[in-house]
Subunit: 266 residues, 2 copies
């Protein structure tokens, strides 16, 4: 534990955990993560999980946590695909969409009642996302649709997704390509740290914001979302953000954790 | 002719013409373009042609002009591919490159003595360009190479390329996708309005800048390059820029032409 660690002095009613870099790294739980989450659950606290990554299904995350010894139903996982589906259902139910994204996002939106199309004259909204199947053809369809009047939304705005030994260009790349060619800014990004993701969390945990603490390894997404929406915020130093990054940032978390073990007042 | 047209009061020694929207539109010469260029040539003036588009060869442009009744050798055409080749030959001759671009640019760089590679550990510079064969794989290679220390240059920064009935996302999209994912700004864009394109023009026409006039249909590329590098500048209203765009812009051309016919003092 470093001198700059600040542990929460009490327990909260609901714990909202980022996943990669917070609960696990790759295929292994991070130190104290399993014991802490079990402790919180046994103490009657709500534990839910959050990902900006729209390329995996909620059930995949739940199965992974369960396999790591933390039995978790899919309903306790939120990702940006689900939040996008709810966002669109409220604003343009049944609309015709063009998805710059992978199959899981397409499936999520199709199952939520949307029609998927590649015809720029039919498309009512372009949904940009982390898309490892991105091609010039998709860029052209998005370009044509937006120039013909389609709305423009995105699931998340992460620059890259860390993978062992490097990273994969994430949704920021797809958003930027569309923005640069159309000279049109994306209207809404529903993933962390947006109000839409925050509202989805509060609905899921059924507690007021001040009873919740958001824990993650990134200042611009996890911590900022907590701070902007009335939740307590804790940065864990087990992932993307180190002590130097923290000191260089204007985003100040309420708490700074060596690992999730620091969530338990001792 | 509108009240706001400002015609040059005299002839210049060298005329540097943008092509699409200035000399021709699609497959037809614009009004007065053929007669004006013939007049200038007969008056002993140098006429050269310029394109930011790296997806066509200089010989293609020369053949097109020749076919339209303006016999032009390939040497009198400059494009951003050629300027990139010269730029790199001066700074990193024989370097290993990764080209996010189409075959003509790859050919130009290969013929200029560069090695093309997809191995991020070998790549010394990433060259971003207008690429209708862009894929996620190319984005990943560019991302990995730049994170491993490769330089990052671009042929041009146009948002889109006008085509009949619409547009094609241009190099700005490829640049933006790489910039957003790597969090690294492109170091140099060699196309209009850069100093590298301007220097290539002056070398080609073998005249001082003040003896040259740059004529084009875009303020941010054609006119700005003339203004920034000591050439006279003329906007022609036959292409991408209308009277309203001109009035809204901070870039003020020396001259404003209804069409190329206004280049001849009368």
């Amino acid at each position: 534990m470093t001198a700059t660690t600040r542990k929460p002095p009490r327990l909260y009613e609901a714990y909202v955990f980022d996943l990669d870099g917070t609960v696990y790294l790759g295929d292994a739980l991070l130190p104290e993560a399993g014991a802490t989450i079990q402790y919180l659950r046994e103490a009657g606290k709500r534990t839910v999980f959050l990902s900006n990554n729209p390329t995996c299904r909620r059930a995949d995350y739940a199965a992974k946590l369960t396999g790591l010894g933390l039995p978790t139903p899919p309903e306790d996982v939120l990702n940006s695909s689900l939040v996008m589906a709810h966002f669109l259902q409220e604003r343009m139910p049944g609309a015709t969409l063009f998805v710059v994204g992978e199959q899981p996002l397409q499936d999520e939106l199709h199952q939520a009642g949307f029609t998927l199309s590649e015809d720029p004259n039919e498309i009512e909204a372009v949904i940009a996302s982390f898309d490892r199947t991105f091609t010039y053809h998709k860029l052209q369809v998005a370009f044509d649709a937006i120039r013909a009047g389609a709305r423009f939304f995105a699931t998340n705005a992460d620059r890259y997704c860390p993978v062992p030994g490097g990273g994969e260009p994430d949704a920021a790349a797809m958003i930027a390509a569309i923005e640069a060619s159309t000279n049109t800014r994306v209207e809404v990004v529903v993933g962390k740290p947006s109000q839409y993701m925050a509202a989805a969390i509060l609905q899921l945990v059924a507690r007021p914001a001040e009873a919740c603490i958001m824990i993650g390894d990134r200042l611009e997404t996890d911590v900022l979302m907590g701070k902007n929406h009335g939740m307590a915020s804790a940065l864990t130093l087990t992932g993307a953000t180190g002590q130097a990054d923290l000191e260089a940032s204007e985003i100040a978390p309420d708490y700074v954790l060596t690992n999730l073990g620091d969530l338990i007042p001792g």
